[in-house]
Symmetry: C2
Subunit: 346 residues, 2 copies
DNA sequence: TTTATTTACGTAAACGTTTACATTTTAAAT
DNA sequence: ATTTAAAATGTAAACGTTTACGTAAATAAA
């Protein structure tokens, strides 16, 4: 590698390509975009030179001028959650095919951070936003601001119902209902729901499914029994669950969110409770490790990857041909109840 | 909300702010950046108006002009891996403080995708790149191209040794050595290493640690015994491990990467092998679920979050004050061996 | 008072694209 | 050969910032 290499490589733009080829910048730009206005021969020349000189378009200049970024924002509470990870992979898989990029943003499940993340996105960095809202989001002004700037929004999994926007969700009510029935069928008399604080609709839907299953099965007094944890893995959660196990003595637990499985298992361990003999547990999660836990965990497995795919397809469809009425699109994908040892008959 | 709101909100830029305030665009720009060239009174007026009108700077225009993006790229094989997730969170935590954003890119552990991701980043989208290389990356031209464009690069965890660049890693040799010794101490006579294909230096370092521990402890013939899996969770891996368990009959396994734990546990289950009675297992992982597996898994826990923090601090330090010689920075952080039931004496 | 310095602002040229519009070249129609 | 249409290219103005440079007003130094 000589000094020439070094200096040549520093910033090669269309102007240089144009000079190299004795063409105007306009023609170079069009050739690179396969415009019908430029001859095949010129296209070939331009592309050859671009490849040879390692030219890569400056997306900032490009989108500044064209108002198109070919980028989708994905806003999630956390990426340390197998569900969101799989959704992201689903989104990325279709985005990639359609020549879109993704910008992953985390809110750390905080309403305030969500506002600032969304506000940042109003500046034209992205063409659209796919979001799973924070559990304590209590107002949708930031979403409306985004919509008013003409940036379409689509909710996946956790939506915010006051906002009129497209959504892709799972059948939370039904799957919680079915899981509760399964626990009842396998002999549970006293099932508690362990869920998280915050007003996210999917959690209330899961709660409703749990309640309805109890009603339909003539549950004993003292039920429903619901406790609310923090929406992150924590020692407080373990203590809270342990106290509940001691006081209420449930023989079944339905956990509404992935990270609660570790806390619930730990609490049972601390008390010497045997799963499933003393207490049966089912959890909403997509973690692959569920099958090798002690004991293997019965899960309500959501179609996370597919959810991401559907969400991205919908949004990109809208961005490409504006003819679909995005706001009216509401998809519901079915979850699967995967039976494992943690709820088996003893 | 009336029609006025709707239309007012659509695109508010510095020009409009300037007109609203009877100032020049330059003064508005400077006021928003707290330049010493503008009076406190004017700054206050500008900021008030900006807040009132929901102005947010167009980062594309800004970085196009200033050649500063205040964005770091994080390039990882996968985000569905607790280690990378935690590193990302570490990076983000310090980036946030220093007013940097992060752009997360996945290579899906493919050399080809890595090239295209890195090439995309040469166009000025980011100020620097933090990367953990794909396991089959066999050439560093794409990294050199990036460096030649003046974009600094820093490797975390998985580096590419032919490239002269900063790195933040863990003590792979020592921790593999210690884990192997621990297995030997607890009675293992025949320990196999389960690792992944590809020429990433951290895997060879872990392999060397394993080898050296065997040598130092006068291991039996037939050792070292090493098998190479695909670098993703797969049924092939399970089959491969099962075959190995049948043929070689090891009484100890050292797993070099997180996702192998599920495969190894599953393979043992299939063969009816009891952990730790029949076989003891230790694994490099940062997963929280390790403690509730069946049985709880002994882990070499890497300081993932801290690694992210250190990496980001180093890179941002360099970007802010160019006086440190980035390429000469090589940090090694110690891992911790967490003893659990999967390797306990029986 | 005059001159020098400091403070606060304005002007205008970039940054690297895209694209409406104009122009030239080539081919087709008369 | 002339006119008309189509194809290929060029010109120049945007997109929304930042910043070098210039200038006027206010203050300090002479």
């Amino acid at each position: 590698m000589n000094m020439n290499d070094e200096s040549n490589d520093r910033k090669i733009n269309m102007k240089m390509l144009a000079k190299e080829l004795n063409l105007s910048i306009a023609t170079v730009s069009r050739a690179l975009k396969d415009s019908y206005e430029v001859s095949d021969q010129t296209k070939a020349r331009v592309k050859e030179a671009a490849a040879r000189l390692n030219y890569v378009v400056n997306t900032q200049a490009s989108s500044l001028r064209s108002h198109k970024t070919y980028t989708l924002a994905i806003v999630v509470p956390e990426i340390g959650d197998s569900f969101f990870t799989q959704v992201i992979n689903g989104i990325e898989s279709v985005a990639d095919k359609k020549k879109y990029r993704v910008l992953i943003c985390m809110t750390h499940d905080s309403y305030e951070r969500e506002i600032s993340v969304i506000n940042e996105l109003t500046n034209g960095r992205v063409d659209g936003v796919l979001i799973s809202v924070a559990s304590n989001t209590r107002n949708g002004d930031h979403f409306n601001a985004l919509k008013r700037k003409g940036i379409p929004i689509l909710f996946f999994d956790r939506d915010f119902k006051e906002i009129n926007a497209a959504s892709v969700k799972t059948d939370d009510f039904e799957s919680a209902y079915n899981a509760t029935c399964h626990l009842l069928d396998n002999g549970c008399k006293k099932i508690s729901l362990i869920t998280v604080r915050g007003g996210v609709s999917i959690f209330s839907a899961r709660e409703e499914g749990y309640r309805q299953a109890l009603i339909d099965n003539h549950s004993k007094p003292g039920l429903p029994d619901i406790i609310h944890c923090a929406n992150e893995h924590s020692d407080d959660n373990i203590a809270m669950i342990r106290d509940h196990l001691l006081k209420a003595r449930p023989d079944g637990l339905l956990l509404t969110v992935e990270h609660l499985s570790t806390d619930a298992y730990t609490a049972c361990q601390l008390l010497g409770l045997k799963i499933p003999a003393d207490i049966k547990i089912a959890c909403f999660t997509t973690q692959l490790t569920a099958g090798i836990l002690n004991p293997a965990l019965t899960t309500i497995q959501q179609p996370a990857f597919e959810m991401g795919q559907k969400a991205a397809e919908l949004l990109i469809e809208y961005l490409t041909y504006k003819y679909i009425q995005l706001e009216n699109q509401h998809l519901v994908l079915p979850s699967r109840l995967i039976l494992r040892d943690s709820t088996s008959l003893t």
